[in-house]
């Protein structure tokens, strides 16, 4: 373990973790109104550690959905983590127990942060980032349970925009070639289409498969056409 890299990962995740405050508040309010006990609300944050899945579980459970429907929804919502894991494993070599630990608190933000640049491709950095998000999400949940009324002011502050804004900065850095740009544009268009079709959480899975496939296709097309040296993939 490289403690300096872990601290770097922890620090880098801090701005992302702020975005958890209004989400935690919304989650706690929804869970309480559904009649879920405070201990169970906190337990969900500790064991599931997925804001979208937790809120979905609360909504479906309070709406009287079956256990099978709830679990299959949660499965679909989290399938994209398989692709994240495969993608991360290409850059970070993990042994058995390391996989078990790293997988527990993998999130969109941790993946986006770690995969962005080669210097952040390390287990220590990943664990530092994950640890920060796990602690903050659970602290925000606990805080919302304890002093939810004081946090109510945060509900209308668009702090959640910090995450996509940071992702955008990372994405601009990662977009180096014409093919990269084509993949980004196509993926955004596909995401809009999926949203218009009401596909919800499946959108990320579809885009994470459709975008790269488009990139492979367009890359080959350009390679067989008039490719300039600057367009050759790094």
């Amino acid at each position: 373990m490289n403690s300096a890299a872990a601290v770097q990962g922890f620090r880098a995740m801090l701005p992302f973790s702020l975005a958890g405050a209004p989400v935690a508040l919304a989650y706690v309010l929804a869970a309480r109104s559904a009649g879920i006990a405070d201990v169970e609300i906190q337990l969900m944050s500790l064991t599931m550690f997925s804001s979208a899945s937790q809120i979905a579980l609360v909504q479906l459970w309070s709406g009287g959905a079956s256990v099978l429907a709830i679990l299959s929804t949660i499965l679909v919502m989290n399938l994209h983590f398989i692709i994240y894991g495969v993608s991360l494993a290409k850059h970070i070599r993990l042994r058995g127990w390391q996989k078990v630990i790293a997988a527990y608190s993998l999130t969109d933000a941790a993946y986006g942060l770690v995969i962005a640049t080669p210097k952040t491709h390390s287990l220590s950095y990943l664990l530092g980032a994950e640890c920060c998000m796990f602690l903050s999400w659970n602290l925000f949940t606990a805080a919302a349970l304890l002093v939810g009324d004081l946090f109510a002011v945060l509900r209308d502050v668009p702090l959640d925009f910090i995450v996509p804004l940071t992702f955008f900065v990372l994405l601009v850095k990662m977009t180096q070639t014409r093919t990269d740009l084509a993949v980004v544009m196509f993926s955004a268009a596909l995401a809009i289409l999926c949203m218009q079709l009401g596909l919800g959480q499946i959108t990320v899975i579809l885009v994470s498969i459709g975008g790269p496939l488009f990139g492979l296709g367009i890359g080959q097309l350009w390679e067989t056409g008039h490719t300039t040296p600057s367009e050759v993939e790094r």
């Binding site: 989290n78 983590f81 993608s87 986006g112 955008f168 900065v169 601009v172 994470s208 790269p212 990139g215």
Partner: protein, 83 residues
């Protein structure tokens, strides 16, 4: 009805998804797969950003404008550094 068994089952489902990707053994080099995986982060980030901007129509204009300004600034900085 207690929700505890449901929380446990949901936690197991989520953890299984998170662990599955790490557990797939893809150590050998395969050009197409590697190229595919190289595009995955770009596609996922583009999707997450798009979903975030589109999910609240009343804030879409403001968020879009912020991203546009940030994008122009970043591209300007990149060109400046390259020059």
């Amino acid at each position: 009805m207690t929700i505890l068994p449901l929380i446990t089952a949901a936690a197991v489902v989520i953890y299984a998804c998170r662990l599955a990707g790490f557990s797939l053994n893809l150590s050998e080099t395969a050009p197409y797969r590697d190229q595919f995986l190289r595009f995955v982060p770009r596609a996922v980030l583009a999707a997450l950003i798009t979903l975030s901007v589109m999910c609240e129509p009343e804030q879409m204009g403001m968020k879009g404008a912020v991203l546009l300004v940030v994008g122009v600034v970043l591209l300007g900085m990149r060109r400046f550094r390259a020059a």
